[in-house]
Symmetry: C2
Subunit: 205 residues, 2 copies
DNA sequence: ACGTTAGTGGACGCACCCGTCCACTTGGTC
DNA sequence: GACCAAGTGGACGGGTGCGTCCACTAACGT
């Protein structure tokens, strides 16, 4: 059990970290987080010995939100609608939080808490994709890489001015869905994505 | 006229800068470029007093390539085909060079050589877009922002393993083109992009 | 109320980058 | 071959972030 003041400081550090990660990405310094939280560096390091420990904790909520989005999408009786919802929601989530996609995508094998979650999430997304293809919603030549690209692109949105970031994210998601929709005007996709093998080589998919 | 050995060093510095910018983005330090070129810091600073001067020079070729792509696209008698080509070629260009999009997008008003070129390029892209819409190739609700998003997304490709980066870029570009193609299955795009006003507020478009 | 001990902020040593300066080297010229 | 100015590498002071240490503070149990 933590002493009351320590608990308080811990919370303030987490709040500061979340705010800074969201608005400026994972690049912010530990010092800066400590300053924003109004504590000294020692306090920060005592609670979170490594940057990764702080990142893991700071994004735990986001990760849960992310899992919930995927879960909801997967349990939609119409898999194509579920897929579209997932794309849209994840894009909005990303656009709000600059650090989260970074943390999620660059998760380091054996180094942090994201790896296992990521593997599980992506496995479910693959399954959802297959089902969405089966009902002729999602284009036949879709692969997981294409979704990853869309999510990575969403990162760019997080540097837009904050006022209408969500609106921009929804617009972008709509575009992405149109790109992935099965249609007889679709140009055939050339082979050649490799992002997922790169991102997932560690995750055992 | 530069002394022979000085010219030699200058060339080596530029080569090193190009290589490092391409593979690691604009974040590399001046020191590191100097080390890679096998010269001291003083030599680097003598030739390129500021980082921006080096960036400008290092990307001059890329910038020309970029302009040529847009020019070719604009002079295509079929504007929609021209537009598609531009998307594809620019995406490939981006995927090859991690630093270029950064330099191009984050160009600082009054601070570097990219601003004027950027404004001119984007103006031409706007015009091409309008023409591509007129022939029912490009979707009606397209805006410049959508293209910028695609290009930003392409940056993500530059961190993929290098072997098939180009293939991945072409695949992604094909997806993007499908997203932007006019079709009766297009979902209506919600309003709300704002990237271009953000990127271009300084460029006088 | 008071002692104990977890908790704390600030200071420290280290490493890195920055941009500049200076004494030496060396290419080009006579 | 000898001169000399352009050219050079390395060293320097200033700044910042890192992770750790330590003497003080104050929360909690009695």
């Amino acid at each position: 059990m933590l002493r009351a003041d320590a608990q308080d400081n811990r919370d303030r550090v987490l709040d500061a970290a979340r705010a800074l990660f969201a608005e400026r990405g994972l690049g912010v310094t530990m010092r800066e987080i400590a300053r924003r939280a109004g504590v000294g560096p020692a306090t920060l390091y005592r609670r979170f010995p490594t940057r990764q420990a702080l990142v893991d904790e700071a994004f735990a909520d986001e990760l849960r939100a992310c899992e919930r989005i995927v879960e909801d999408g997967c349990s939609d009786p119409d898999p194509w609608r579920g897929f579209r919802t997932v794309v849209e929601e994840l894009t909005v989530l990303n656009s709000r939080n600059r650090g989260f996609v970074d943390a999620f995508m660059s998760a380091n094998p054996h180094a942090d808490a994201f790896v296992a979650h990521r593997a599980a999430l992506l496995r479910r997304l693959v399954a959802l994709g297959v089902r969405a293809q089966a009902v002729d919603g999602l284009r036949r030549d879709y692969e997981l890489d294409d979704l990853l690209l869309v999510l990575m692109a969403g990162r760019g949105l997080a540097s837009a001015p904050s006022q209408d970031r969500t609106a921009a994210a929804r617009r972008f998601a709509t575009l992405a869905v149109d790109a992935l929709r099965a249609s007889d005007t679709n140009a055939p996709l050339p082979r050649g994505a490799s992002l997922s093998t790169y991102v997932l080589s560690s995750a055992g998919i």
